[in-house]
């Protein structure tokens, strides 16, 4: 139930994000979700794409430092309190969130939350127990 995520190191200088997206587009790689975390000096671009290995390979070939990690994708109804219920369950289980980002799917009915937890296995167990929908890689790509 883990989804693979690509992370790319970025210095804060103009044009880098454009370069990355151009490389992905040239190789017919579709971005499903992304977020950028940044500090004064550098940023980390996190991407969920349909072709993970290819994306890693072509970005590396273009000189980027690329990492691959796993994240959990949770689908919740797109209404007030959707995120709050997930975070409450996680808090009650005593699990820390390393980072998260979210997007709303095309139909607009559901939101997809991407999480990296301190304890991934425990988090999956908790989310399942509480009845949340965890999306597979295929489901994310099909959205």
């Amino acid at each position: 139930m883990l989804v693979e995520q690509i992370a790319v190191f970025l210095e804060n200088k103009s044009g880098r994000l454009a370069e990355i997206t151009a490389v992905l587009a040239d190789n017919d790689i579709n971005i499903r979700a992304l977020s950028v975390a940044d500090t004064a000096d550098f940023g980390i671009l996190r991407l969920i794409v349909d072709k993970v290995e290819l994306a890693k390979k072509v970005l590396k070939e273009n000189g980027f430092t690329v990492g691959k990690t796993t994240v959990i994708a949770v689908e919740v109804p797109d209404r007030t309190g959707g995120l709050a219920t997930v975070l409450a369950a996680i808090r009650d289980a005593g699990i820390n969130v390393e980072y998260m980002y979210a997007f709303v799917n095309k139909t607009g009915e559901n939101a997809v939350l991407i999480f990296r937890f301190e304890k991934m296995e425990e988090a999956i167990e908790t989310l399942r127990r509480e009845g949340f929908t965890i999306l597979s890689k295929e489901q994310i790509c099909a959205l």
Binding site: Q5, A37, I44, G63, R116
Partner: protein, 444 residues
């Protein structure tokens, strides 16, 4: 494991007699050659003669090797002042080749060679190759730059003299270099150590496993590098990394070479190049084993001999016998340069110390640059470090911890607070020749 990979030359020395001569005999040869040299430059090179006359020294005053210390030093500026050919001792009709330094810090310096100088050079370079374990049958991949720089052609003539196969690939175009290594079966690599790491990066990007290549030995020189960097090169290229020393003012590559029996220094071919270690401040000659500035006098060069040339390289000399059987003195790996030294808020900083810190941190690569600036009246030092896959994380916290860790280690070792800037992999300029480690933007 193919046979060719472990095919070793059976030759242990190139010129056994000279390389294993008892020191008494060696010193007698050195003295005789020194006396001839001093007499010749006194007669033929006005700048040398003037310098000797200023201190009332005559060629016949050189009676023992200890009298070498009475001769005036030659410095880089003497070469610049006499640019281009003012220090040559023979008419240009006898000069068959010239080389020149890059001149990044001023006018280039020019050196010249007679046919016999080229022959001597090929001989000492062949000695260096044999000393590093190369021999006939080796495919020697020469990635030193060919051209005005002495590295490429100097090594090349030695390879041919030895009777190994020269692959004159020169510097640059790393992808092609690796394809050639693979297809031609290169067994010995000659390059600067920073370029060797550059090649390792390129192999990684091309997804070529160095274990699938035939490389056995690397002969790396032309810039100072640390023991940590040696381990890195050995691990990443799967070869034995040896150190070579040379500089154009003295000859070019082949002045000294590490053998396979010691990790304590390079054998100086001192029947041709007479070394001293001096205190860079006072100019006094230091006893064996003490650290200071390396000084060379060429004993056999014809077109461009040089007396007591201050190299600005920091090293020390070991006269103890070596397990390889050579009686030639060893010089310690160059640990820095007298002019490399940065003074930051009154603290002496050598780039090699920063490198040492970086290489001590798991996953960090030795690609770095130091940027020094002055804000108001205060010096600031920024250390730029590339984020390699080995240290990259998708969590900001991990990378911030890394830069704090580097900062603390530098502060602990050097006593200087620096700012660490993480930069993208492969964005610090890879030299095809010498790596530029320091950018000093202070205008003092």
């Amino acid at each position: 494991m193919s046979f060719s990979r472990f095919q070793h030359s059976t030759v242990q020395y190139w010129e056994e007699e000279m390389e294993t001569l008892p020191r008494v005999g060696l010193e007698a040869i050195q003295l005789r050659r020194l006396q001839h040299l001093v007499a010749r430059v006194y007669r033929t090179v006005p700048p040398y003669r003037r310098k000797m006359e200023e201190i009332g020294l005559k060629p016949e005053d050189i009676r023992s090797l200890a009298d070498l210390a009475r001769l005036p030093f030659t410095v880089k500026n003497d070469l610049r002042d006499n640019y281009p050919f003012g220090l040559f001792t023979v008419p240009m009709e006898e000069v068959v080749r010239v080389h020149a330094s890059s001149g990044t810090t001023g006018k280039p310096t020019v050196v010249g060679y007679t046919a016999r100088d080229i022959d001597t050079w090929a001989g000492v370079m062949a000695r260096a190759l044999v000393c590093a374990g190369a021999g006939r049958g080796d495919m020697i991949h020469n990635a030193y730059g060919y051209g005005l720089f002495t590295g490429g052609l100097g090594a090349h003539y030695g390879i041919e003299r030895l009777g190994a196969t020269a692959i004159p690939v020169s510097g640059g175009n790393s992808k092609r270099q690796i394809t050639i290594m693979k297809d031609f079966g290169s067994t010995v690599l000659l390059s600067t150590p920073s370029y060797a790491l550059n090649l390792a990066d390129a192999m990684d990007a091309m997804q070529i496993d160095p274990k699938s290549l035939s490389l056995r030995v690397g002969i790396f020189g032309a810039e100072p590098w640390s023991e940590n960097m040696r381990e890195e090169v050995e691990r990443k290229l799967n070869l034995k990394a040896t150190d070579i020393y040379g500089l154009s003012e003295v000859m070019g590559p082949g002045v000294a070479q590490e053998c396979l029996h010691t990790d304590r220094g390079m054998h100086i071919f001192e029947d041709h190049f007479l070394p001293e270690i001096i205190d860079p401040e006072s100019g006094e000659v230091l006893p064996p084993g003490e650290k200071g500035e390396l000084v060379f006098t060429t004993l056999t060069k014809e077109a461009f001999p040089i007396i007591r040339y201050r190299t600005k390289d920091i090293s020390r000399l070991y006269y103890e016998p070596c397990a390889c059987g050579r009686t030639l003195v060893r010089m310690e790996k160059v640990t820095g340069r007298t002019d490399d030294m940065l003074i930051i808020r009154g603290v002496n900083v050598f780039p090699s110390q920063v490198e040492h810190v970086l290489m001590g941190i798991e996953g960090v690569e030795p690609h770095y640059q130091i940027v020094v600036e002055r804000e108001g009246n205060l010096d600031t030092m920024q250390v730029q470090v590339e984020v390699s896959e080995g240290v990259f994380s998708d969590e900001i916290r991990v990378l911030e911890n890394l830069s704090r860790h580097i900062q603390k280690e530098i502060k602990d070792l050097l006593g200087v607070t620096c700012r660490v800037k993480l930069v993208e992999s492969k964005t610090i300029q890879r030299s095809e020749g010498k790596a530029q480690r320091v950018i000093d933007k202070r205008s003092i």
